[in-house]
Assembly symmetry: C2
Homo-oligomer: 430 residues x 2
């Protein structure tokens, strides 16, 4: 449940902490009285990263960062959305030639989503300058760019009719402008589309759009070298709401529906089963060349491009997949359990365990004086430990260990001297 997710929360009700630390309790940090500053929890990892670069005068860096962020949103647990959740960001900061780091970010998203085998996916790409240029040539007033942009951003959840209606009725855009936008945002393609739009009578009037389109061509040429164009689509409807983007923007979505929710399947609710668990966007990012400068006293800019992976959602999909396939998820890295079939061998078990630890083997031993062999084997089955090293009086006398493969139940005698090597050999693929 949600409580489990929030297991190691930073925020803690004060009464949870008091009375646990004795005299050290005075060291507990209350947020309330730290000088009256109005504090917020971080919303993403990008703004803190930009501030860090500015404050430490870092002009180039490439790094990843996995940490929690907080959003005052309505949590949707079944879709893997929480108010407190981990993000995983990768960013490249520095003054470089156009689109090379941008292409690397897309390659990384492609690699991650491919390797995780989450099903088919699509990476939509657009450029803030193309969007702004498009708005300009379609007759959107300058002061409406941002608000119209955030309406366009809803096209992945709303029909064009609803988006159009919001632009015209709520945001006061002319019908003509809205319809022109409608023609552009339906376009999808690759390098060819960028070339076509560079020739487009209206689009080519915008310097901004042309700069964006030229870079988009360049980007696709690098993506070809990286062999990732199979999944990347230049999509003019991709807007992304955040104000800080200045160039290329992108978003990865899973295109397959997830496994059928257990409840729906049990109810035999056929019409629900088709829908499955859609999780939508699993990664997104873009170029933000102005953000670092906003934190620098002298406004010095550091161009940045980055990507954020929604790892909680990724995990949620992987868990659902594992459940659906009834596949046992290995919950341990332990290679071998040191066990005994007879009584009074705790000391021998501990001695062998330490030997294995010292040789770099991940070994476990039951913390019982005389555990039953069956319960030792059962623990290996449950947690996915692949091997059991079994000690008995006879084995000790002969200087051997009975090495059992949990999966096949095969047992062989291995001399004590060869044990480490044998365990390594048998678990090298795990």
């Amino acid at each position: 449940g949600d409580e489990g997710r929030h297991q190691f929360t930073l925020k803690t009700a004060k009464e949870t902490l008091t009375g646990k630390y004795g005299e050290d309790s005075k060291l507990i940090y209350d947020l309330k009285d730290q000088g009256g500053e109005l504090l917020s929890l971080r919303y993403d990892l990008t703004v803190p990263f930009a501030r860090y670069l500015a404050m430490n005068k870092v002009t180039n860096i490439k790094r990843y960062h996995i940490a929690k962020v907080y959003r005052r949103d309505n949590p949707a647990m079944t879709r893997g959305r929480y108010r407190e959740f981990y993000q995983c960001d990768f960013d490249i900061a520095g003054q470089y030639d156009p689109m090379i780091p941008d292409a690397e970010c897309l390659k990384i998203v492609h690699e991650i989503l491919s390797e995780l085998e989450l099903g088919d996916f699509r990476i939509k790409v657009n450029d803030r300058r193309i969007l702004d240029g498009m708005f300009a040539v379609c007759g959107v007033p300058d002061d409406k760019f941002r608000t119209i942009c955030s309406t366009v951003d809803k096209l992945d959840k709303m029909s064009w009719e609803d988006v159009r209606s919001e632009m015209v009725k709520e945001k006061g855009l002319s019908e003509e402008a809205a319809d022109q936008i409608g023609q552009y945002v339906s376009l999808q393609g690759g390098m060819d589309l960028a070339e076509r739009l560079l020739q487009d009578a209206k689009m080519s009037q915008s310097k901004q759009a042309c700069a964006g389109l030229t870079d988009m061509k360049q980007l696709f040429s690098y993506l070809q070298l990286f062999q990732v164009t199979d999944k990347v689509v230049f999509d003019l409807s991709l807007a992304r709401g955040l104000d800080y983007y200045t160039g290329v923007i992108y978003e990865a979505i899973l295109t397959q529906t997830g496994p059928v929710p257990v409840a729906a399947a049990q109810n035999g609710a056929g019409e629900k089963a088709e829908e499955g668990v859609s999780v939508g966007s699993v990664a997104g990012g873009g170029r933000y060349d102005g953000l670092v400068g906003m934190f620098d006293p002298k406004g010095r800019k550091v161009p940045c491009v980055g990507v954020s992976i929604g790892i909680e959602r990724v995990f949620s999909i992987m868990e659902q997949k594992a459940e659906a396939s009834a596949e046992k998820v290995r919950t341990t890295e332990t290679q071998v359990m040191v066990a005994s079939a007879q009584k009074n061998l705790l000391e021998e078990r501990l001695r062998l365990t330490a030997e294995l630890w010292n040789a770099g083997i991940k070994a476990e031993v039951m913390y019982k004086k005389n555990p039953k062999l069956l319960s030792q084997l059962q623990h290996c089955e449950d947690s996915g430990i692949p091997l059991v090293a079994i000690l008995g009086e006879q084995e000790l006398k002969d200087g051997v260990v009975k090495l059992r493969t949990v999966h096949s139940r095969e047992e062989i005698d291995v001399s004590r001297a060869k044990l480490v090597e044998e365990i390594k050999r048998r678990t090298s693929d795990v």
Copy 2:
């Protein structure tokens, strides 16, 4: 500096965040108005862990956790102490036979401190029950146990005279009781000391002390099997202030002084040089069998034992050591830089980089169309990238890559088909 340490802080002044997210700004989490709860930042990882076990009805688990904790202390930056810092905890929860998981915790501390090569260290061990029993037989009133215990805890920083004086003058203990305590807390030893104290006329009157001493003997017998008794000392002066400990307690300290601070060495301040940078305690922990029950509605207990590694301090020592030895700290895991000596080879560099990435090699490429070879090599020198794969027109024609070892400057031609294998071979020890 301190600012750099706090790079990715969770707390953020609200104005830092506003104006960056457009319409999404409404999702930013303010701590102030979340229902008027008085919130605190976590002080350690133990209490949140215990609460997690209770709330999720987990009755046995073994896990580590690395995360930030917060203490309203006076930071001492040179000694690696901050108000916001990472802790690294390892805990074993569950109902097991006495002292087996406790011994494993000590083995882990021993292993970590040995492998990190921080210099010689000592792990002091004691037991809350031995302390309480000792206080009882020395005539400390029941209601003074905790406060006297926290005074004893200061023996690592204060002389016995000062500790005695605090007990007698500030805390109102009788001189006789203080002197009796003084005799015990000067004792250090191993299993032999536990045996001797079990025979001690006074100590043996306390049931609690006897239980603690019997377990201490057992603990040392397991520590012998784990071959760690060379560093572990049963020390009756070890108290540890936290209220939640119920059994064995321990603390690891580095016994060597650190390297000479740069400033002192430059000043030729000989008398300071001897002192060096002492960091004191680098790990600590103990058994806390009652904590989980405090969070369980029905008071169900889950016995736990754990250890906390002060990783910030450990890092601070490692950094100082690296500085003192003028040893270059490798700041990257990159195995190879894909470079070129000639112009117009960006596409070939990107193609090869993707090839290497796809084969699982950690490769880097400069994000410039035509970088100078010298600056590519310099980057490898600076960041510790061990290999450079150099492409040129001739190499492309011949289907080879010039593989340069940065350290030795040796260059060999490697056929494109063998490149991955050769890079793996040459970086397998890195």
